[in-house]
């Protein structure tokens, strides 16, 4: 699940524009393209301003093309489906769920991005390309990524307890125990929002079961009652079931929303020492004036049983509904490092584009999480976002609800079979 709030300090717009100019290759032929491109996307607020800056960068190179962006926020799937049903889809759209790309492509509603294949191959890794491909054909450009394998902690809380950022799972549990000994609960858990629990599960599962099983579980080729799922749940309960180590215990966690869980950690007087969520965490904090590295810091999700560096990603994909030279030019531009650099400099953005220099990121922590994302040997997209919504993304049912119940009852077998029966229904 995405959490769309801008992250990190915003870099100056001027710097972004300079970057746009500095990119070469704007040949004279580009100016010949003209027309209008309509775009609907999930990016709102600060993110909307950032995509507008990217569009402005595009406009510099293609003065003849006007791109109009409309934000549909979290309602993007509904808006796109109604527009498609009414026969008036936008030219281009940015969606948060790869499953939606698959659905649209299978219904023949998308135009393939074969024209951009060269650029995409050159700039993106195989994982990014695979995410946008349906049956071997490129339909989506994985434009904006989120690194969901990060843990954010309060520097002072770690210092008071005398613990170091853990590198392995046992170190994490030991650190948590020591932090509790110092008098502060270790984990802030946003149990009121089921998607945070699915993210935790996915991180554990990717490390314990490995990418092959992760993919099989995603497609429901193995059952949720598989021993690998139960093993991951057992480890998960070591964190979510550690009721003395959660502010308000597990019942308190179930009433804690994601922004509150962030505030419990990123605060001058913390209520908990760490929050396990993606690189968008600092953007959510309401306490102003906290300094990265000094007041809060980040470490990658710990390795389990010697697992290789792995990243669970989230992110948004750009697709094309109507083919036109203008739309092609725009998508090709988005696939270039220039476009991503503009947004990277503004902050709150991690690019899966390998050609985006790490120096483009505005602060050290973003740079670190972006580097981890690009360098990860194993990288998989958020599993719940790949599932049918009834199972992977609906409040009060499916994965979200079942993992919330698991937070309370810690019943591994019961949870595995509840997940299986819910998944079986959704995949029917």
């Amino acid at each position: 699940m995405r959490y769309r709030v801008s992250a990190f300090t915003l870099a100056a717009l001027a710097a972004a524009l300079v970057a746009a100019f500095s990119v070469g290759g704007a040949g004279a032929g580009h100016q010949a393209v003209s027309g209008k491109v309509s775009m609907i996307g999930i990016w709102t607020a600060t993110e909307q301003q950032s995509i507008q800056a990217v569009i402005a960068g595009f406009h510099k190179k293609f003065p003849g093309v006007t791109v109009s962006y409309t934000s549909a926020g979290n309602d993007t799937p509904t808006v796109l489906k109604t527009r498609l049903a009414g026969g008036k889809p936008p030219d281009v759209a940015a969606v948060g769920q790869p499953s939606l790309v698959r659905e649209f492509a299978q219904k023949g509603q998308l135009k393939p991005l074969t024209f951009a294949q060269g650029v995409v191959r050159a700039n993106y890794g195989p994982n990014g390309i695979a995410l946008g491909s349906v049956k071997g054909k490129l339909y989506g450009l994985f434009f904006k990524a989120a690194n969901k394998s990060t843990v954010w902690y309060n520097v002072k809380a770690f210092k008071d307890a005398g613990v170091q950022p853990p590198k392995t799972w046992p170190q994490l549990l030991a650190a948590a125990k020591t932090i509790r000994g110092s008098g502060l609960p270790a984990y802030a858990i946003a149990g009121a929002e089921g998607w945070t629990l699915t993210d935790l599960f996915e991180n554990i599962y990717l490390r314990t079961a490995g990418p092959v099983k992760y993919d099989q579980l995603t497609d429901h080729k193995i059952k949720w009652t598989d021993p690998s799922v139960k093993k991951a749940l057992t480890l998960m309960a070591q964190v979510t079931g550690d009721t003395q180590n959660i502010p308000g215990g597990t019942s308190g966690a179930l009433q804690t929303g994601f922004p509150q869980s962030v505030d419990q950690v990123l605060s001058k007087s913390p209520k908990a020492a760490m929050v396990i969520e993606g690189d968008f965490v600092p953007g959510v904090a309401t306490t102003k004036g906290l300094k990265p590295m000094v007041d809060y810091n980040m470490f990658p999700f710990p390795s389990i049983n010697g697992s290789a560096p792995a990243v669970v990603t989230g992110g948004d994909t750009v697709v094309m509904f109507k083919d036109s030279p203008a739309a092609r030019a725009f998508i090709t531009y988005l696939a270039s490092p220039a476009a991503s650099t503009i947004w990277a400099k503004r902050g709150g953005f991690t690019s899966p584009n390998k050609k985006v220099p790490l120096s483009a990121y505005s602060d050290a922590l973003t740079r670190r999480s972006a580097a981890a994302l690009v360098a990860a040997k194993i990288s998989r997209f958020d599993l719940s976002d790949l599932e049918p919504a009834a199972f992977g993304a609906t409040t009060g049912q499916g994965e979200w609800k079942i993992l919330q119940d698991f937070l309370k009852d810690k019943n591994v077998n019961g949870t595995a079979s509840a997940l299986e029966s819910s998944a079986a229904k959704a995949f029917k």
């Binding site: 005398g162 008098g183 179930l254 609906t394 009060g396 609800k401």
Partner: protein, 447 residues
């Protein structure tokens, strides 16, 4: 409309009767012209969507496949929806009657007080807030942490006044040698012998700000003949330290009451710790003893009732809903009450009826039509209840709080299953119809 046309007729006749047929046509055209805007609006926004919803409910998720009554079967087999139906039944059973009763009581009582206007205004005020906003207010008031939720803050202040929390409410045991739990009191497993053993009671989990003022570096006291000595200390230093060992940088916990039991379990004495955490029981006979700390020391402050948890969520939402609608009910009933002939009440009183009898046998029967209006309006509202459920219940308990309208929205939008969503909408519509018919029949009778 019919009424208006009837009134328009006499002047038309005075103008000198036009031919019957032409007149009929003109009258028809005028009527149609007046009705057209309403018809078009109703057609586009009510009739067409309603008919399309019914048609759509027989198609599958994607829309192209006719599935017959499968969606209606799914209504009663999908757990989320059956919970919703069950909850709606509870809502209908509890809420309209409660709102009507509260309204009636308020309406009758405010007749007797001089500041009735102020009272009426206060009770009616929630009606001025949107239902969603009212839900948000209650969501905050119902929060579990007494520091945030007003309801638990009230309960908590009473609770903590009667049973004050202990000085070390967050403490945990530091070694497996300490048994029991903070809630039952901590007892050392190893039996102690006077002159031989030293009782080490290490505690962790105490935030620095909870360490009692005046505490100093803890020390392990030496064993003393005829006595049992020991220390209670904060067994933590940055990095954790060695559990069960008094180390440099770990402070004693003063003013902790330690008790001593003999082999038979009889309490033989209590001692209070010094600034460095040490305590001593002197003049003891030979034998084995056990030392421990009273549970009162660890007594947690009131943790709050989980109003928004999965068990209490529906009652919590109902309370919020009743809070909003009681004002409406009171005002309508009060209006009805003022229309009751006073002489009937007086006659009853003269005949020696008690106030309760007057209320039961005279006021309520006379008010029956008004009470019915309130009750039926509330039944319809409650069947369609939606926004307050969404705003009071946190996501983690929305499954338990689910109602039909919410299930419809969730099925149709986040999941894009318009077929099943339409079926739920039609089902809800069917539930409302009998109540509507009842209401229409009553209107007719009154007219």
């Amino acid at each position: 409309m019919t009424e208006a046309t009837v009134r328009a007729e006499p002047p038309a006749e005075e103008l000198g009767a036009p031919p019957e047929a032409w007149f009929g046509l003109r009258r028809y055209a005028v009527t149609a012209a007046f009705l057209a805007p309403a018809f078009i609006l109703l057609g586009v926004w009510v009739v067409y969507p309603a008919v399309y919803t019914i048609i759509r409910s027989f198609y599958g998720q994607a829309g192209g496949d006719f599935v017959g009554i499968d969606n209606y079967k799914a209504l009663f087999t999908t757990p989320a929806i059956t919970t919703a139906i069950k909850n709606n039944a509870i809502w209908v059973a509890v809420v309209p009657a409660t709102i009507t009763a509260i309204g009636l009581v308020f309406a009758v009582l405010i007749e007797k007080i001089s500041w009735s206007l102020a009272f009426k205004t206060a009770v009616f005020m929630p009606m001025a807030i949107s239902l969603f906003a009212a839900g948000v207010i209650w969501r905050i008031m119902d929060r579990q942490e007494p520091g945030i939720g007003a309801v638990n803050a009230v309960i908590g202040s009473v609770h903590d006044a009667i049973r004050p929390p202990g000085a070390l409410s967050d403490a945990l045991t530091s070694t497996p040698n300490e048994t029991g739990s903070p809630s039952q009191g901590i007892v050392l497993k190893t039996p102690l012998q006077p002159g031989k053993s030293v009782a080490l009671v290490g505690l962790t989990g105490i935030p620095p700000e909870q360490v009692p003022a005046g505490s100093v570096q803890a020390v392990t006291p030496p064993a003393k003949a005829g006595s049992i000595t020991g220390v209670v200390w904060r067994d933590f230093k940055p990095g954790g330290g060695v559990p069960g060992k008094v180390e440099q940088g770990e402070v004693g916990l003063p003013n902790v009451t330690v008790f001593l039991r003999d082999a038979s379990g009889k309490k033989v004495g209590t001692a209070t710790t010094e600034a460095n955490g040490t305590f001593a029981f002197t003049d003891l006979d030979q034998g084995t003893y056990r030392a421990g700390i009273d549970p009162a020391t660890f007594k947690k402050p009131f943790g709050g009732v989980s109003w928004l948890g999965s068990k209490l969520i529906t009652p919590s939402i109902m309370i919020a809903y009743i809070w909003v609608w009681a004002g409406f009910s009171m005002v309508v009933i009060a209006a009805g009450l003022s229309a009751i002939p006073r002489d009937t009440l007086e006659a009853a009183r003269t005949d020696g009826a008690s106030e309760w009898q007057v209320f039961r046998r005279v006021t309520v029967p006379l008010l029956a039509p008004v009470l019915t209006v309130v009750f039926i309006t509330m039944v319809i509202n409650v069947l369609k209840v939606f926004d307050i459920v969404l705003s009071v219940a946190p996501e983690s308990s929305q499954a338990e709080a689910n109602v039909i309208a919410l299930a419809m929205w969730r099925t149709a939008f986040p999941q894009s299953d318009f077929g099943l969503g339409s079926a739920i909408a039609v089902f809800l519509f069917i539930l409302v119809i009998p109540v509507l018919l009842l209401n229409i029949r009553r209107f007719r009778r009154e007219a």
